[in-house]
């Protein structure tokens, strides 16, 4: 039986291939790794190691994000307006305001845009800057007044009427700098400016820009844990305040569970279903001081101190590549919707224990809320 040359060639190639596989595999296995053990840097001057700005397992950092926030209907109660700056007859801190006006908010919410762009992102410094916009629009009806019998909101200054027509806007510019000082220790500095109010395209006086600051000194204990302590000047609950800050981020060794805590601003537990979806549960404080143009007379600035506590759960899921979606559901608890009149627009410090009188004492019933959005994130 004749064997063709072609068949012999194929057979030899096959034999060679079978024999070659272990040879190549052996080359991989027999790599002498020890030769890399005692290597030295060519230039070992000025070699410094730095702590990384994150730990593993954290929810993705959002570079760009657009979301829609919406609260379910709730009842609003407004007191009479007293202007302590001009008359010295405001509402005491411990005093309950009268019920001068009531209304029902059918809708509260609007679009939110957040950005957090790296300007410098190196191992020895990370500087991120971001412009943010938040709209709190209102659809308010059933406005009833006890001020002047039979009067309609158009004949007097009605805060629910103004909110219904104008809503509240916030433009924010935040800069965050991460400064590692060693392989473990780091400093985070953050500064923010906010322009908040009932303004439209005309904006409002720039002396009503409110600024916040935070500084946190921390230690990155391992890939799975970091903590920090610091101090912040914040408007998180409406009024300007100085509060201590505690950071505590940890991820379990199986990377399923963790925490993302920057107390008191936000406290979250975290559960990762897999690499592409996770659940956050906890709360966030949200607030700003909003100038109401319509109530601001002479040089003074009349400002609503809006502060909310938002216990919530948030599902985050990767859509594709760096695009993630989130769905948040929670309960919006009214912390403050009172108002102050600021002489000349200048801020003052009441804190937790100050006794400066309020210009208005208002109450919002609590309500369910939802937030849904899409983000461009770092993986």
């Amino acid at each position: 039986m004749a064997i063709s040359f072609k068949k012999v060639f194929c057979f030899l190639v096959l034999i060679y291939a079978i024999m070659a596989i272990p040879v190549f595999a052996q080359e991989e296995e027999e790599e002498d790794w020890s030769k890399y053990d005692d290597m030295e840097l060519v230039d070992d001057k000025n070699v410094r190691r730095f702590a990384k700005p994150t730990i593993v397992g954290l929810s993705p950092t959002r570079f760009l994000s657009v979301s829609w926030d919406m609260q379910m209907p709730y009842q609003m109660t407004f007191s009479d307006i007293r202007l302590p700056a001009s008359s010295g007859t405001g509402w005491r801190v411990d005093e309950e305001g009268n019920v001068a006006e009531t209304a029902r908010a059918r809708f509260t919410g609007g679009i939110r845009f957040n950005s957090n762009i790296p300007v410098i992102s190196k191992s020895n410094i990370v500087w991120q800057t971001g412009l943010n916009y938040m709209r709190v629009g209102y659809s308010i009806d059933e406005i009833q007044t006890n001020r002047i019998t039979g009067a309609s909101p158009s004949t007097y200054l009605s805060l629910p009427a103004v909110l219904n027509e104008k809503g509240l806007n916030n433009i924010n510019w935040t800069n965050t700098v991460f400064l590692p000082m060693s392989e473990q220790h780091f400093l985070i500095l953050q500064g923010a400016m906010d322009l908040s109010g009932t303004y439209d395209f005309g904006f409002q006086p720039l002396e009503t820009i409110r600024w916040s600051l935070a500084a946190v000194y921390g230690k990155r204990v391992s890939e799975l844990k970091r903590w920090g302590v610091g101090i912040a000047r914040t408007y998180r609950v409406g009024n300007m305040n100085y509060v201590p800050v505690i950071m505590y981020d940890v991820t379990s060794t199986n990377r399923k569970w963790g925490t993302e805590i920057l107390f008191p601003a936000r406290v979250h537990g975290r559960y990762a279903f897999n690499k592409n979806s996770l659940l956050l549960f906890g709360y966030e404080l949200e607030g700003q001081s909003y100038r109401v143009n319509e109530f601001s007379i002479n040089d003074n600035s009349f400002e609503i101190r809006r502060g909310e506590l938002r216990p919530r759960v948030e599902l985050q899921k990767q859509l594709r590549g760096p695009f993630w979606a989130h769905f948040q559901a929670g309960y919006r608890i009214d912390w403050s919707f009172d108002a102050d009149e600021l002489p000349g627009g200048r801020e003052f410090f009441r804190g937790f224990f100050g006794n400066q009188e309020f210009g208005m004492k208002n109450t919002l019933n609590n309500a369910l809320y939802f937030n849904i959005g899409i983000s461009f994130v770092t993986l």
């Binding site: 991989e28 790599e31 790794w33 030769k35 890399y36 053990d37 005692d38 290597m39 030295e40 840097l41 060519v42 230039d43 070699v47 190691r49 730095f50 990384k52 593993v56 570079f63 762009i117 790296p118 992102s121 190196k122 191992s123 990370v126 392989e183 890939e223 060794t253 990377r255 690499k275 590549g321 760096p322 461009f376 994130v377 770092t378 993986l379």
Partner: protein, 147 residues
């Protein structure tokens, strides 16, 4: 005036510190965190880097060599980290820049677009990013002496 000339001269020297040829990148390098060493090779005109040394080669829990446990591809989770290719497909674009490659982060299991920039004879700037270079982070790698 002397100071100005000195500064200008040093600046000029700095700008001259660019790679003379594509293979200047070949060698063993240490990332900024110092926990690994990566050997960069030229394979058919493209540049690849694999981990050749780990400060902590064994998993402290099991005592066995570390594997790529964070890889999203389940079939890769048992592949040893030592020998793992974390830099892939870099092409030399001239002027001390290697681009169009990817860098893999074994700590997170994520792969990023990446560009390598020649800083000087012993230093590389490696940037991993998402989409565009702006959304990324840079690390400095230092060259190791090959015995």
């Amino acid at each position: 005036m002397k100071k100005l000339i000195l500064i200008l001269s040093l600046s000029l020297l700095g700008t001259m510190a660019i790679a003379q040829n594509a293979d200047d990148i070949v060698g063993v390098w240490e990332p900024g965190h110092g926990k690994a060493r990566v050997k960069i090779d030229n394979i058919d005109g493209k540049y690849y880097g694999r981990i050749v040394w780990l400060k902590e080669p064994n998993d402290p829990e099991t005592g066995k060599p570390k594997t790529d446990v964070n890889n999203p591809d389940a079939s890769m989770k048992s592949v040893p980290l030592r020998g793992y290719r974390i830099l892939k497909d870099f092409e030399y674009k001239g002027k001390g820049e290697w681009a169009e490659g990817t860098i893999y982060d074994p700590e997170t299991g994520n792969t990023y677009s990446s560009v390598i920039t020649w800083k000087d004879d012993n230093t590389l700037d490696i940037r991993g990013f998402v989409g565009v270079k702006t959304f990324g982070r840079s690390d400095t790698w230092r060259r190791l002496k090959v015995n």
